[in-house]
Each structure stands twice: as C-alpha cells, then as structure tokens.
C-alpha cells in the first residue's frame, strides 16, 4: 500500500502494479492523485545556476552562498514537504536569521490557527466517518480539491454509528457562491450566497438557531434558513468543513465565525475541520507553533518575531534573497506581487519545472514525497501519516537537500 500526497487526505490505501520498474497500474487513486503519479515522468527540474545546468553539489553550494550572503532571506513553501524536512527548514531559518512563511499565509492560516490553538473544537476524519450525521461543506468543494473526502470519510462510507448508508444516516449541506460538483451531490440543501456573503449568512443562521426570523430579503431563502436551523439543532454529531470560499470571505475577521461555532455547540455537538489543500500544510503550522508559538509569518532575525509584515505578500518588499520549496509561488500570487518576486535572487527546490523555478537563479530538483521519498505528514485533521518511497529514483529528498544547504551555509 502506498500513500498519495496529492492532497491533505493522504490516502493510504493506494495499490500499485509494476512493469520493468515502472508503475503500470494504480488502484484507488483519484484523478488528482493520478496526476501526481503521472507527473513522475513530466517536466522534471534540473539543477541549474542562472539558467545553465550544473551538478547537484554546485547547485547546493550556490544556494547556500545566495542565502548566506543575504541580509533578509525569506524561506517560503513547506506545505508540500514532509514533517522531517519542515523541521530542518525551521532550523535553517534560525541559522540564517531568516523570515519563514508557508502557503497557509494566503490560504487556510487564520482558521488553522484557531483549530491548532484549541479555540475551535475539532475531531479526526475517522470520527467523522464513524459518528457524524450532519455535514456542512462551507465554501469548500471536496469533489474538486480533496476528491475522496466524501467517499472515504464524510458522506458515503458506513461507520460505527452510521451503518445504514448516507441517504438515511447523514445530512449533507453545501453553502457556496456557485453550483460546484460538491453541491450537485450534497443532497440536503444548497445555500447559494453572494460573494462575500458569508458573514451575513452566519448572522442569519445564528438567528435561526435562536428561534428568531433571519434578516434575509428573499422569502424562500428565509424559510430555508429557518428549516436549516432546526436540522442543525437535531444533529447528534455535526461537522463543518470550511474551505477557501469561507476563509477568503472572512480573512482576518475569522472571529465572525466564533459565535456560530459556540452557538452550534450549545444546541448540539459540532466540530470543525479546515479543508486543507496541500498535503502537509497542517504539519508545518503545527511544527512552527510548537517551535515558536506561531503557525506562520515568523522572523528569526532578532529572536522570534511574528506579524503580518512577515507574510510572504509583505516580506517580498524587504527580502533580498528567497528560497521557495515545493510551491509555485509565482503562479499562486497576483502578478503585481510576482513582479516583485521575480527581481529577488531565488533558490527554487521542486520536483518540477514551473514559473517559480524558471525565474530562479538556482534550481534544485527534488524527489516527490510518497513516491520517491519517505517521511511523515499531518493529514488535514492532524492525524500523522507515515509513508515510504514506492519507486527508486536518483532525486534527493527535501530532507537531504535542506541538510546539505544547512551544512554549507
């Protein structure tokens, strides 16, 4: 059995068949995971300095030079690296006096912090499978982003107290701005809200839970929300799965969600699991939290400092060297910010060629976790999953690359 690192479900029931040392058939991988497996053969990165191919050792020493000479280096990425690599990354940041940040900074960070600090009740996906009866997919679309979420854990499987099948045992509700592929199958109600309408929907739902008439213009919607209120009250074990839709709508006002989570736990028992995308974003947040008391956006220049000025979108204005690992930052950020990134001397570590590696001064190819390198990671619900490499390759793991840079700095 192999572990898929295609998303933060870390599916551990992947079966493979081999022919001549190559994977000839995969079982139980979704389309997204299959893409990751196929990527073994596509567009692999080569070690290079200023566009010219070099040996691995040369790439390492140039990377160490570039980072070591900098006043304000920024180390970014991390959500596609193992826990072991993340730990070395944090040590490297300490040694360099660098700023360190990860993809959660412009992704699930604000919500993940609440969960990791224990401010929002959470549970494991196995508990969801065994006990959950009311599921709220809020601004999340597992069908597209965590494709096996509903079949492995949340909606369709039988569980200890959910023996009769999804149509009898579970209630699935979707709150979204569009009719996503998840909305299509969440059988018990689709609540279409306007972009940015989440805070208002929270208010309406709070009213409905308190037996008041929600302040909603549309009469049909008003009735629907009232009915939802009573459905939510009847839950034995409810779970909210917030996605980027909800998080980008609230951003640093994530506290607006707090009264609802509190209220839901007064009327019944509700948990919350952030719908993380990258396979080990939660791992990085957890590790950095243990190490520094903060989940992201940390500077080691002068002890441990934390703040929005260390968010990658801000730090880009001050840093004079950048290391990006396992993330195509240039593709992911607004072009106006990427323009600034493009001018910073960059070391890019990635299994594949992408926009960020193309703009980097130094590129270092890495092994794909779960396929070519082993390690461990935290699933979106915090459960630790260990994985072994399933095929032999000459590519070095993030752990090896980071250790080498660490030695050379």
């Amino acid at each position: 059995m192999a572990v898929c690192t295609g998303c933060s479900l870390l599916c551990d029931d992947i079966e493979l068949e081999f022919e001549d040392g190559k994977i000839s058939l995969t079982k139980n991988l979704c389309r997204k995971g299959e893409g990751r497996y196929r990527s073994l053969r596509e567009d692999r990165l080569v070690p290079a300095v200023d566009g010219a191919k070099v040996g691995f050792d040369e790439a390492i020493s140039r990377a160490a030079e570039l980072l070591g000479d900098a006043e304000n280096p920024l180390l970014f990425g991390w959500s596609n690296s193992s826990l072991e690599a993340q730990r070395i990354g944090i040590d490297l940041a300490k040694k360099l006096g660098a700023t360190i940040d990860d993809t959660s900074s412009f992704c699930q960070g604000y919500l993940m912090e609440k969960v990791l600090r224990g401010e929002y009740p959470t549970c494991t996906l196995d508990e969801v499978r065994n006990f959950a009866d009311v599921l709220i997919y809020w601004g999340s679309d597992p069908s597209s982003s965590q494709p096996r979420h509903m079949s492995r854990f949340s909606y369709f499987p039988r569980g200890e107290k959910r023996q009769r099948g999804y149509d009898e045992d579970r209630t699935a509700i979707a709150i979204d701005v569009r009719k996503s592929p998840t909305v299509v199958i969440a059988a018990d109600g689709f609540f279409r809200i306007p972009p940015g309408g989440d805070a208002e929907f929270i208010e309406a739902l709070l009213a409905a839970l308190g037996g008041k008439i929600p302040k909603v213009k549309d009469k049909k919607m008003k009735k629907k929300i009232l009915k939802l209120g009573s459905t939510l009250r009847k839950a034995e074990f409810g779970v909210v799965f917030p996605g980027l839709g909800l998080i980008y709508s609230l951003k640093d006002e994530i506290d607006k969600l707090t009264p609802l989570i509190t209220r839901l736990n007064e009327v019944s028992s509700y948990k919350l699991i952030p719908m993380v995308g990258h396979y080990n974003m939660r791992g990085f947040n957890q590790t950095l939290l243990e190490e520094t008391g903060h989940i992201n956006r940390v500077s080691f220049k002068d002890g441990v400092e934390h703040g929005t000025q260390f968010a990658v979108t801000e730090a880009v204005n001050d840093c004079d060297a950048l290391m990006v690992i396992g993330s195509d930052l240039i593709s992911a950020l607004p072009a106006a910010i990427s323009k600034k990134l493009a001018r910073i001397p960059t070391v890019a570590i990635d299994p594949h060629r992408n926009l960020t590696t193309d703009m980097a001064r130094v590129t270092i190819p890495s092994a794909i976790s779960g396929l070519e390198a082993g390690g461990s990671a935290l699933r979106m619900d915090g459960v630790k999953v260990e994985f072994e490499p399933v095929i032999k390759s000459g590519y070095r793991s993030d752990v090896e690359i980071l250790s080498r840079i660490m030695e050379a700095v």
């Binding site: 992947i14 139980n28 979704c30 389309r31 995971g33 069908s143 079949s151 199958i185």
Partner: protein, 155 residues
C-alpha cells in the same frame, strides 16, 4: 438516454419496410433494443436529403452503440470521471459484497466489488452482480446520483 420518439423523429417516417420491420416506429424500438443498427435503414444512409437526420441520429445513439456499454447498459464516461470513488462506496452491491473495504470508504478488499477505481477512473467488473442486471433488474441509481460529474449513465 434516448427515447423512442426522439429516435423516430430522426427516421425517414415513410414505413418503407426495407429494414424488415413494418413501420419506422418499430425500427426505432429495434434500434434502442440494439437488435438493429442504423445502417439497416438504407434510405437514411443513401438519400442525401436525410443527411442531417442521420448525423443527429448517430449522435443520439452514440452512447448506446459504443462498445463501452456493459450488459446492464451502463456507460462510464471516463473522460468526465473524477475517480472520487463515491459510486464505489455508495453502491449497495459493493457494500454487501465488500463490507471491510468499499463499505468503509477504502478500495476493494474482497475481490467481489463491482465498481472500483483504476488509473484514476471508475471501472465496472462482475457486471452480473449489478442490481440492474438480468430480467429481474431493479432500477438502482446509487452510482448515478452520487457522481459529481454525471460520468455514469444507463442506456
């Protein structure tokens, strides 16, 4: 899924009997029952004035005529499939046959599952176990309604 009237509307409607059936309506039924193929209607093939109808009819019947359709009429549009496994886990036959695997959300463990995911897309095996198989068939739709992309249909 095509119905008889849709098929009939695309035939010449002359009841010429060249296909061996007394009426175009009967031929439409035979087409849907896979007893005849479009080419068994010579006027439709040969007369250029039916060109548009012929094209539409081929389009309409393409899923039915495709080699992908199993004996139950199940067609899996692998190009649309997400490989999410919702159908695998929701299928009542899988649940009964594979209680420790697919019933719990895993890949099949017993070798008796009828739906499974291979190479990132869904695949149907042991089709005789499907509830829609044979004369006593039940019109189960567990695999259809749980699909996020309508990748499964029965014709």
């Amino acid at each position: 899924m095509a119905n008889v009237m849709e098929v009939y509307q695309l035939l010449p409607k002359t009841n010429c009997k060249e296909c061996g059936y007394p009426t175009c309506m009967a031929f439409a039924v035979a087409l849907l029952g896979k007893e005849k193929i479009i080419e068994d209607c010579p006027p439709l093939i040969e007369n250029p004035k039916y060109e548009k109808k012929l094209e539409k009819l081929r389009e309409l019947l393409a899923p039915l005529m495709s080699a992908d359709a199993t004996e139950t009429g199940m067609i899996i549009h692998t190009d649309k499939c997400y490989g999410c496994g919702n159908c695998v886990v929701a299928c009542p036959v899988n649940v009964a046959n594979d209680p420790k695997g697919t019933a719990l959300g895993f890949g099949p463990k017993s070798g008796r599952a009828i739906l499974m995911v291979e190479d990132g897309v869904i695949k149907c095996v042991n089709v005789e176990e499907c509830r829609r198989f044979g004369p006593e068939k039940i019109l189960c739709s567990a695999c259809i309604v749980t699909c996020p992309s309508r990748a499964i249909e029965f014709v």
